[in-house]
Amino acid sequence: MFRAPDARRFISASLVIGVAFIIFGMSFGVLAVTANASIAQATVMSLLVFTGASQMSAVSVFASGGTAASALGGAVLLSGRNAVYGLAMSPVLRQSSLPARLLGAQWVIDETTALVTAEDTEDARRTAFWVSAPILYASWCGGTFIGAVIGSNINPNDFGLDAAFPVMFIAMLAPHLRTTAGKRAALFGAVAAVGLAPFMPIGLPILISAFGVLFGVAPAAPAPPNRSDGAP
């Protein structure tokens, strides 16, 4: 199931992303204890919720004195996109046993989806998922625990780490831009996510980005050799 050269490639990619996960996990842990969560609560939240953006948003609402209802609303909006990722990831899990599928579902997040869908073959996709997901899960949860214990302030932005996610996603986006429909979906997604940001609650614009998939409704036209459709 795991071919060695592929597995090694995904281990190194996951370790790179894992470093960012540990540091962001730590800053989440710090923020959580500042918002009066216990070390156990912060760690269990990472283990059970495992959706960074969602957890961050919930804890920062609590930290600024917000209500549980508003914390939950924002966090739920941010975790909604995982349902869409689940659809894209389901072929990877289809062959697995029920317990493996139930465990795998917990690991469906931005980064695992990006890593997996950048691969061309079913084998490589499965390997990418089952190699990277546990590494990223351990990094995020371990980072949370360390941050909650240390409790001192670290600012990932000082190390440019707020750029880590867009930067890694751009590498993973590249293979999806090979088709015209892919380019259009990406353009729509990018414009919606930024253009709608001032007018909507955080987390909602990115869900609207998902409508870019509707460019897949029309079947892809077979591309004749010198076709020029205005796309760069």
Partner: protein, 100 residues
């Protein structure tokens, strides 16, 4: 923050993942839906990249992250290894912050 809140958020979050990955995703879908599903990463990754680079909360703006992204895009186009792309992008952003 209460334990009740944590379990409620965990339940809802897992519910989303479970719904997509296990409930709906395990069925055979019509070809039109399959074509749309293939575009999910394109639409959402591009959305996340744009949001994480050009917004802070609900404010749109350009800062050092945009330079990091540009360098990373160039590195991706040059087919440099994944770790190198990340180090270049993150490093560019950090250096600009350091000297700006």
């Amino acid at each position: 923050m209460t334990w009740g809140f944590i379990f409620l958020l965990a339940g809802i979050s897992y519910g989303f993942k479970f719904l997509g990955a296990v409930v709906i995703g395990q069925r055979a879908l019509p070809p039109v839906l399959e074509r749309c599903l293939l575009l999910i990463p394109a639409a959402l990754l591009a959305g996340l990249i744009a949001k994480d680079t050009f917004t802070v909360g609900q404010t749109i703006g350009i800062d050092a992250r945009a330079a990091g992204l540009a360098v990373a895009a160039l590195a991706t186009w040059k087919k440099l290894p994944f770790a190198v792309i990340i180090v270049l992008g993150v490093g560019t952003t950090a250096l600009i912050r350091l000297f700006a």
